[in-house]
């Protein structure tokens, strides 16, 4: 019989810093009527800290709110914002919807994918389309409520309006 080695990955729930825990406790107080309401806020805090939500995260949040893990899993998988695998270091979200599309957002998306080495046809059913070097994720998202300054995209947490081809070169250079 050979030796079976199992690699135990380090789970997110074993690395919760006190500052995150403090924010979690605070968020729960915002819902005096039902703790379950804190599910989304906890998922946001978790993903903001770890970059994504792993299985241990789903179980930890569920236990914290006295829920079954499925109650968290079913919303992690529902909302487009949440992911269960690590994204690239810089996440670029390009608005795909009509006003932006009329202003050239498909070309923008293509150009961004080319500049970062991402397959522009890749869907995001299995995590965000991410560049081989792990530096970028680029995805199409729906209307970002900034249609008057189309085309727009978000670079991590920041909105960029009236994006031009020249902007793309700058954005990619800045985050490489």
């Amino acid at each position: 019989m050979g030796l079976i080695m199992t690699l135990t990955p380090v789970t997110q729930s074993s690395q919760i810093p006190p500052a995150l825990l403090e924010k979690i406790e605070e968020a729960i107080t915002h819902y005096p009527v039902s703790k379950r309401s804190a599910a989304l806020p906890l998922m946001h805090l978790w993903q903001n800290h770890f970059g994504y939500i792993d299985e241990s995260g789903i179980e930890w949040i569920a236990a914290k709110l006295e829920l079954q893990p499925i109650a968290i899993l079913e919303i992690v998988t529902f909302y487009p914002w949440f992911r269960q695998t690590a994204p690239g270091k810089t996440i670029i979200r390009v608005c795909r919807t009509l006003s932006c599309a009329m202003a050239g957002s498909y070309e923008l998306h293509d150009q961004l994918c080319k500049a970062t080495g991402i397959d522009s046809a890749a869907g995001h059913d299995h995590g965000l389309p991410t560049s081989p070097d792990g530096k970028f994720s680029v995805e199409f998202v729906e209307c970002l409520a900034s249609c008057g300054t189309a085309p727009v995209c978000m670079i991590n947490n920041d909105l960029v309006e009236k994006v031009t081809p020249a902007d793309i070169t700058t954005i990619v250079a800045q985050h490489s």
């Binding site: 009527v33 709110l65 529902f78 909302y79 729906e142 209307c143 900034s146």
Partner: protein
């Protein structure tokens, strides 16, 4: 976020009054210097019924999409029924074409808080949530800072304004799903559940809402208007608008115009033509108008050469039906409805003659296919079929009867779903294929 350009003479900036001021900042001191919280204080000197009567008399209609009379909605709440009541402010702003609440949430958060205070005092509400889409990544911190400032002043929290009234306000971020703008989905989302819209009846969250208690859901802009109704008085406020549709409405114009943007206009003050040509600087050079989506992507498209039969007051005051061209439609809820569409979230998307209508519809079909929550079979399946059909038409691989097939699929979604997403998703397909039949026919059956 860009600052607003100077106002067009037809504009009357009430909601955007503050943010139009040079160097206006979202902090409490700046807001107070601009008359901030005066009406919240005034509200406590009034009787709640008096405030509801004012909101009714002001003819304020909801700015979130359905244009429902706000005062009537508020009237469904029985202040003294002994139950807890809640307010959920809808800041999901995800109807394609809409970009007004973003400005309030980021640049004038105290105006929203003041509206919330007035609303909560009126309806005996002690807990309110502001639901914002999570793509507004900075808005949460901005709103929470404003809430802290207001608390420190005694405007929120315990015993506000020393009136023995408690009110807590929290911000709840969504997860990037359009459906959460639908009010019962929004409630499920706040409850931490999978945000499937609730089965109706009851039709109004005012009957069973958040945590199964009477709840008011109003759009961000709607709530802000309440302050100005108290400031101006209902008569003065109503006078700005048309019969049954008072005040100002923030129009969001995008697409093929020279000056897209937000324009706060007295309701009914301008026609579609004035909005596009006088205010938005017209079309791009050498272009002609092809189509207009008047109230967000879910409203039915209007064709440039359509003539509508719309009732207007005649010389003797009696309503007479008049033939009205698209550019002559007056921008109020009733006129746009009479043209067979809706003012919705007042998001006007303009398309010129360079646009391919199959391409435009396909873009919207992909939106609805991505955003259906999947609860009801006609919608879950139908939106995907519509998206696949318009995609194959664009690629040149469609069948001759594809336009008819598209329409049939849409007909089988509308009216057969739990929430109005079904209509929202069907109306574009129904109206595009009807009104641009030649273009769809030409694109169909290329193989």
């Amino acid at each position: 976020m860009s600052t607003l350009p100077s106002a067009h003479p037809k504009e009357r900036r009430i909601i955007f009054g503050n943010v139009s001021e040079p160097n206006y900042a979202p902090d409490l001191e700046t807001y107070l210097k601009h008359g901030g919280y005066n009406e919240a204080k005034k509200a406590f000197t009034m009787k709640p019924d008096e405030i509801i009567a004012e909101v009714k008399a002001a003819n304020l209609r909801g700015r979130g999409g359905a244009a429902f009379p706000t005062g009537v909605k508020w009237g469904f709440i029985r202040r003294d029924d002994g139950k807890p009541h809640y307010l959920c402010v809808n800041g999901d702003e995800s109807e394609p074409g809409t970009f007004k609440d973003r400005i309030i949430l980021h640049q004038d958060p105290h105006q929203l808080l003041e509206g919330i205070i007035i609303t909560c005092f009126t309806l005996n509400i002690h807990l309110a949530y502001i639901y914002i889409r999570c793509e507004f990544t900075h808005a949460k911190a901005i709103l929470e800072k404003a809430i802290e400032e207001a608390k420190a002043r005694g405007f929120l929290g315990k015993n506000i304004f020393g009136q023995g009234f408690d009110l807590d306000v929290y911000v709840h971020e969504g997860g990037g799903a359009y459906i959460c703008g639908e009010e019962t989905s929004l409630l499920e989302s706040i409850e931490g559940k999978r945000p499937y819209p609730r089965i109706k009846p009851p039709y109004f969250p005012a009957v069973l809402g958040l945590y199964m208690a009477p709840t008011i859901v109003n759009n961000v802009e709607t709530i802000c208007h309440v302050k100005h109704i108290l400031r101006l008085g209902s008569a003065e406020y109503a006078k700005m608008g048309t019969a049954g549709d008072g005040g100002t409405r923030i129009m969001c114009v995008s697409g093929d115009v020279m000056r897209p943007g937000t324009y706060e206009l007295p309701v009914g003050a301008v026609t579609m033509g004035e909005l596009i040509f006088d205010i938005c600087g017209g079309l791009k050079p050498g272009r002609s108008l092809k189509a207009i989506i008047p109230g967000g992507s879910s409203s039915k498209v209007l064709r440039a050469d359509e003539v509508f039969k719309i009732k207007k007051p005649g010389p003797d005051g009696a309503m007479v039906e008049q033939e009205t061209k698209l550019l002559d439609i007056v921008l109020d809820a009733a006129s746009v409805a009479a043209a067979g569409s809706m003012i919705g979230s007042a998001a006007v998307i303009v398309m010129d003659d360079s646009r391919n209508m199959v391409w435009a519809l396909n873009n919207l079909n992909q939106f609805y296919a991505h955003e259906s929550c999947g609860q009801c079979t006609p919608c879950r399946e139908g939106v995907l079929w519509m998206s696949k059909i318009s995609t194959r038409m664009l690629a040149g691989g469609g069948h001759e009867n594809d336009p008819k097939m598209l329409h049939t699929v849409a007909d089988n979604i509308a009216g057969r779903t739990i929430c109005a997403f079904g209509e929202a998703a069907s109306w574009p397909t129904q109206s595009f294929t009807e009104k641009f039949a030649e273009e769809f026919a030409a694109a169909a059956g290329k193989n």
